[in-house]
Each structure stands twice: as C-alpha cells, then as structure tokens.
Symmetry: C2
Subunit: 481 residues, 2 copies
C-alpha cells in the first residue's frame, strides 16, 4: 500500500473552507493538518501546514477535496439501451426493457466498466449495482461485473436483482381477474444462487460486496424476502430493494397485502439499518415514520423518477423525519446517464417546489453530505467511509477549481452542486489507491472501452416492444388513462 | 464568406436518420443531398452522395448535424454570483443578487464571453441576454456585451433589462399599506436609452439584435410597457419579458390590475408573435388561450424554476393549446450553469410527472425542435433560422457521436437529450462562420478567459444581504410562511 500527502488543499470545514494537508497511509486517512479557514486566511493569517509530507506529494492548490460519493442505485447493463427507451411509465418501460435486454456476458462487462467510469468522473467512488442477471448465467453475470469493478478499482456493492414472480404480476389487477405465468426459476433456486455468489464474491476488505436485493414487493413473494433476510443475517449482508416507485405499485400493495408496502415490509422484518430502498416516491406519513424508526435509507433517483413520470419523492419530509437519504443515478435506461453530480443537483433543487418555506430546502453542503455520509450509512459502513475523518478509508475525490464550469470563484461546493461541472474530477482514490489522475481513469483504457461500445452497437430509431403491445391496454384501463 | 460542405453526416429525417451531404454557401444552407435513411441503408442500399463538394470539406462521419439551439433567456452577468446565492425564492433572491451585483463593465464583458462559450459548447448558437444594466453606464453595458458576443461570433439578442419601479414594489402588499422609493431613473429616460441602443447596436444582419425587454409586470408601469411597444413597432424589434415566475407575482397582478397579468398585457398590446415571455409558471387556462391567440412564445427555464422554488410551468398544456415553447438557461445565479442541453433535458422530462398519460410527454425529437425552431419562432425569425432547410442561415452544430457519453450507439437524439453529454460539440457555425472546431472555441482564447475569471474572484462562503434582512419578515407574512 502506498502512502501519500495531499498538500495545501481546500476542504469544507463547518460553514467555511479550510486549507489543509492530508496524509494517507495504507489506504486510510492518517492525519490532517490543523485547519486554516478561508476567513482567517483572508484576515491575514499565513498558511502554515504542520504535517510532514509522507510518500508521494500531491499538489492540492486550487483544488477541493471531498469524500467520494455513492452512486447508491443503478443497473449497469441498462447502459445498452440508454437514449432509446420510449417515453413510458415504469410498468410499460420495464416490458420494453426486458424485450431488448442484453444477454451476452461481455456486454455486462463493458457496461459495468462504463458505469464505473461515468460514476468516477462525476465524483462517485462507490457504486451499488442492482445487477440484472442473464437467465441461466446468473453467477457468470455476477462474476463478470465483479471483474469489471475490480479492474476499474471502484468500490462495488453488487446487488443481484432477483424476483420470483413474472413481469405481468407487477401491474395491479384492478377489477379484472388476472393470472400470471409462473416465474421461470423457483424461489429456492434463486436464493441458492445468491448464497453461492456470497461465497464466491463477497470480499468487503477488497472492495467487493454482495447485497441481498429482491427487486421489490411488486415481483417478489414473502418467501423470497424472508430468504433474503436470512442470508442477510447469516452473512452480515446489506439489503437493497426498490420501493413504491410508482402509483401503480401503491395500488398493487393494497391489492396484495391490504396495507401499505412499508407496513408489510416492516411486518416481515426486511427494514433495518442495513436496508436501502430505491425511489420511495409513494409513501404516506405513517410509512415515513416506519422508515425512520427502522433506520432504513432512502435512495433518491430524481432523474429516473422524472423520466418515467413516477413522481417526486417527498425528500424534505424524509429529512424532517430523520430518515437517511442518499442519491442514485438509477440505470441508464431511465436516466440516461451515470453522472452523479447531475443526480445530486436535481435531487436537491427539485424539492424546492414542494415546500414554499425555503428554510427547509436542501443546501449544497447538505447535498454533499447526503451523497457521501448518507451513502455510507445506507450501506452500514459509515464508521469506515463517507467523510474526511482521520481513521476512515481514503475514498477521496479531488476537484479542479480552475475549470471554466467552476468559475468565477465563489462557493466551491455551491458551484459543484448547483452548476453543471464538466471535466472537474482531477483525481480519485479508492481505499487509498489512485484510479483517476489528471482527469483520466488510470486503471483501464477508456478509449478501448469506447471503441468496444461503438463496435457492439448501432444507431437505431424507435423499436417495437411486443410485450408492451400485449399489456398496454390493460395498463391504461387499470390506471384510468 | 467561405463555403464548405459537410459530407456523410447523420441528420434527423422524419422519424428516422439519414446520411447526407450539406453544402453551405455564403452563410446559407445551399443544398442537401437526397437523403439515405438508416433503415434503407441497413436494408442494403449503398450510401450515394449526389452533391459535389464545394469549398472546405468537413468529414461528418459518426457525427450528428442539428440546427443550433437558442438559449432563449439568460442574464449573462449573473455568472459572477453563480454557486453562492442563498436558497431563496425569487423575491428574496433578487434582493441578495442586487446587493452584490457586479458594477464593472469589464466584468460584464467577461461574463458575456463565459455565457457565450458555455452556450456554444452545449449546442446553442443564439443567446437572448436579458442584460442587467449598470446604473449610469447603461449604454456602456450594452456596448461591451455587444463587443463580447461579436468577438465570440455567437448570434446575440440583447434585451436590456429595464424597469421603472423599485425592487420592493415587486412583493405583494397583502393587507399592509406599503410605500416604495421611486425608481432612480424616469420612464422617459429609460426609453431614451433603449432607443439610443437600437440606433447604435441593432444590426440583425450582423447577428446583433436589440430587444425591448421590460423586466415584468412586477416592476414596470404601463407607461414603460407602452413605450416599449412603440419602439418595437417603430424599429421592428422583438419583445421580451419575465411573466408570472412566482406565486407572489400572481398575487401582485391581482393587487395591481384586478385581473391576471396576461389579461393586462393583452389589453395594453404587449403580446404578439414577436413577444417571448420567460417562465410563465402561474398561468390559468384562460391565460394560456390568450398566449396561443396572440402567438406569444413561452421560454421555459426549468432549472431556475426549481432552484428558486417557483414551480413547474404547465408546458404540456402550452403545447396542447398550440403555444410555442422554447428553452432558456436563465441567469447563472439561478441555475447555476449555461448548459443548454441540461435545460432541454430537464425541461422535457420534468413534465412527465404532471400528466400520467405518457402519450402527452415531450419526446427527444420534439425537445430538439422546441430548442431550435421554437427559439427562432420566439424571435420572429423562423423564416431564416431554426431548421436544416435549404435557404436558411447556417447556424449549425455538429455533435461527436463517438464520445463516451453518447455510447453505446442507440438513438443519437435520445442520447443527446436524455443523457448527460459532455464534450460532445465538435463544431459550430453561426451564419456559416465556424466558431467551434475540434471541440474548442476558435474565436477567443478560453484559457485567458478562465484566468481572468479566476483572478477577478475569490472563494467565499455565504454572504449577508442587507436588503434581505430588511424585507424578509414582510415577505414571510405576505406569503403565509
């Protein structure tokens, strides 16, 4: 493990900035110099670093150092369909998505690389990949995504996406009596795959984590949830799921359980301080209280929620209730990018229209904390990650404050969160290992990746999904369209 | 005037793409080869350009050619305060903005350059600058912004921002009796400045246009509006104004006129096919019908409307009513970037949550048309700009489809609008003159601009606005906070 010292770098300190030196030893933040704030500096105090440089010296001048962000919910292989998905709500969009899902492990590998690169270059050092598994090649899918994340060096939380009901079961029945095809794989077989994945790939110390990740109440039986809870307890795994992304799912929960989805998930014991839940758009106040009480984390995916017309998650209410919130890009078929800074910006300012009292609005500094410490909390790892704290792991990002998109100089974090920063990530480290330098990913050849993505795709216009043709009329009826 | 030919380039053609050659002669699209669609090409037809190359040959392979977009509402000098403005609604935000407004013409020059560069590198070839005038240096402000836009070569619509009531008049009185300081300059003097600006700077053939641009009903008397209408008629000038950005303005219009702002503006004759109106968040159905009937244009500034908590403009209703809509970034103190592709993305997908019927949602192709032809219509220049049409002016943008953010290859326009494209503008031309080549602005030195912006600014944290301290209590009372 290499050691290094970042000298003379700007960091956030209480409500001000400070210029400090930061020592990293064996992948851990070993020491930080006593801070000199910008205010005291402009009042005439000289900059006086008091740390000896250890190892490689990194010049932090005119740069901002922040803890790495978490891309806390995505589906990497959706990259293959970004830009082309129809303007549909989730239920129809899913049908189109699965009609054209990539079935080649090599594609999974390339899109995991692409997801990692875009996340890194927008400030993320961790990614939660709710990974779509190729039927019949489930463990191979997990293996190849693991390989991709290890090669890039990003910290990966691989959450194999599992279900045990067929797609049509995810749409409310309404007045009609609907029957659904049984799912092609048994619940037990699915749980065996996950357990085997844990044995083969779950290596937290090496930056690779497996999560139990039922897709959501809309497509999973209680037996599947309970199997996941058991695995989570046995192997100390985090839990991840979609939750109440759409109004249709809210209806479905009532049909299925006679109560809200949150009440049901609490009853069966899925909610915990190791549980992160993507979307959470259609929760009521009692549901919100349950999330707070169980210390569950909400992963906010604002762009996906707009793109699919899902709605605006009540993020200000979550914050007021003490629920931990962090951000995700969601899969690139519903966003259609993996730019975490974009998700943080929109995920902050979107809520200003939901509460006319501006004193409740999310400030840029709060947004940064949600994206870093909030992400770590959601993965039950806040003791090791998520802030610039001596003793925590060095998952760090250094931003170039001389980039046009961050000028003129005003409030660096304000510019980063509220602006549209491009090409601003100068360096990134995961576990103390540098994986971005001078604005370039150093661990893989990004030009080759581009060439592969180009060669394996072609420009096309709108496709026709056969499944959508089958289910659209029912969807419109049930949803009153 | 140079001539050139773009060969083998992808363009949008009906609901497909075509590979064509495009000839530009004397600043005008002179000819386009018969189109070969991607579908017919993949069906085995060979690519057969049938145009002889004239002038310089530009290789269009793996690139997409679109008409330049319009950044149809911004305030360039707000760039100096981006990133640092408090989380406030418009009325308080304005007070903070003006307490720290730049008063140096050189700053106006630099921020106009910066606004032009960011607009260009995100697909815009025209900018509507609702330009804040330095008191006492009004014509100098207009002169220096004009100089900046001429140097960059972007097409500029300079709309000097004028008012004749003081800032506090923009907040509803509520039950209280409020008196306001008189504005420091008379209505007549203001109109004289505008008329002089028209004489000195209005040169449409050279790409510089002056607009009459009262800031809005909240700070302008009818006399000012009427003076603007007269100038508009006499000199054939377009008209620009803010309209009903906030709920407070909706209240104020009722206090001031006893009717809606739109009804009042119609009555005094401000609305026309030369009138573009920024924001339009708080209109009712009758107001919308008036905009359609008068052929007025709505400029949608989605990011600013979120950032300031103004609300969601009813854009789908405008489109259904036949009102022309285009996009703006708004000033960088309320956005805080001038990335037009970001405004187009958010301004499209934001509305999916306002109408559960996805058949009404804005598609990427519609968004592109709104940003190009919609912008031209709003400036009464659709006969000359806004589409790839033989005979129209060559304001063109060439996008590099091999950039990682536009891969894998799917639907190029879908990727451009719904993704988060970075560094994708390869070339841009205004009036046939190339001003971006190989991803770089060729007309000014952007590194020098960065250095100037850096040198004239400093990192700072939150400031205290004295005006906000004076008016905040009244604002909270009137707005029921």
């Amino acid at each position: 493990m290499v050691s290094f010292t970042i000298q003379n770098v700007l960091i956030a300190a209480s409500d001000d900035y400070a210029t400090v030196d930061v020592q990293i030893v064996d992948g851990v933040i070993a020491a930080m110099s006593t801070t000199v704030t910008e205010r005291s500096r402009s009042a005439g105090y000289a900059y006086a670093p008091n740390l000896q440089a250890i190892g490689t010296v990194i010049d932090g001048k005119n740069k901002l150092l922040l803890p790495g962000f978490f891309n806390a919910h995505t589906h990497s292989s959706e990259m293959w369909q970004r830009g082309i998905m129809s303007a549909f709500p989730l239920e129809l969009w899913l049908a189109e998505l699965y009609d054209f899902a990539p079935l080649d492990p090599e594609q999974v590998y390339l899109s995991a690389l692409g997801t990692a690169v875009e996340t890194l270059l927008s400030g993320g050092t961790s990614v939660v990949d709710h990974l779509v598994l190729i039927p019949g090649l489930e463990l191979e899918t997990i293996a190849i995504a693991t390989r991709a994340y290890r090669e890039v060096g990003i910290r990966a939380f691989i959450a194999p996406l599992i279900q045990d009901e067929s797609l049509s079961a995810g749409i409310p029945s309404g007045e009609s009596a609907q029957t659904h095809e049984p799912y092609f794989r048994t619940t037990a077989a699915t749980l065996e795959i996950i357990e085997e994945a844990v044995r083969q790939f779950h290596r937290p110390d090496e930056g690779i984590n497996i999560l139990v990740a039922p897709t959501g109440i809309q497509l999973c039986t209680d037996a599947l949830f309970q199997g996941c809870i058991e695995l989570s307890d046995r192997y100390n795994l985090c839990r991840h799921s979609h939750l109440l992304e759409t109004r249709a799912q809210q209806k479905l929960a009532q049909e299925k359980y006679g109560c809200t989805a949150v009440e049901h998930l609490k009853r069966i014991g899925f909610l915990s301080n190791k549980t992160s839940l993507a979307h959470c758009v259609w929760l009521n106040d009692a549901d919100i209280a349950i999330l707070a009480e169980t210390q569950s984390t909400v992963v906010h995916n604002p762009l996906s929620n707009l793109r699919l017309g899902s709605g605006i998650a009540p993020i200000l209410k979550y914050r007021q209730a003490g629920v931990n919130v962090t951000f995700g890009c969601d899969g690139a078929s519903s966003n259609d990018s993996q730019d975490l800074l974009e998700a943080i910006k929109i995920g902050s300012i979107l809520h200003n229209i939901t509460d006319s009292d501006y004193q409740h609005w999310i400030t840029p500094r709060q947004a940064v904390e949600m994206a870093s410490l909030g992400g770590a909390k959601g993965l039950n790892i806040a003791d090791k990650l998520g802030s610039l704290t001596v003793g925590k792991k060095a998952d760090l990002v250094l931003y170039d404050l001389t980039n046009l998109s961050l000028l003129p100089r005003t409030d660096p974090i304000g510019l980063l969160v509220l602006g549209r920063p491009t090409n601003v990530v100068n360096s990134a480290w995961v576990n103390g290992k540098q994986i971005v330098a001078d604005g370039k990913v150093t661990t893989i050849n990004v030009d080759e990746l581009r060439q592969e993505l180009f060669n394996r795709s072609q420009w096309e216009t709108k496709r026709k999904s056969e499944t959508v043709a089958q289910i659209e009329a029912h969807y419109r009826t049930v949803m009153g369209l």
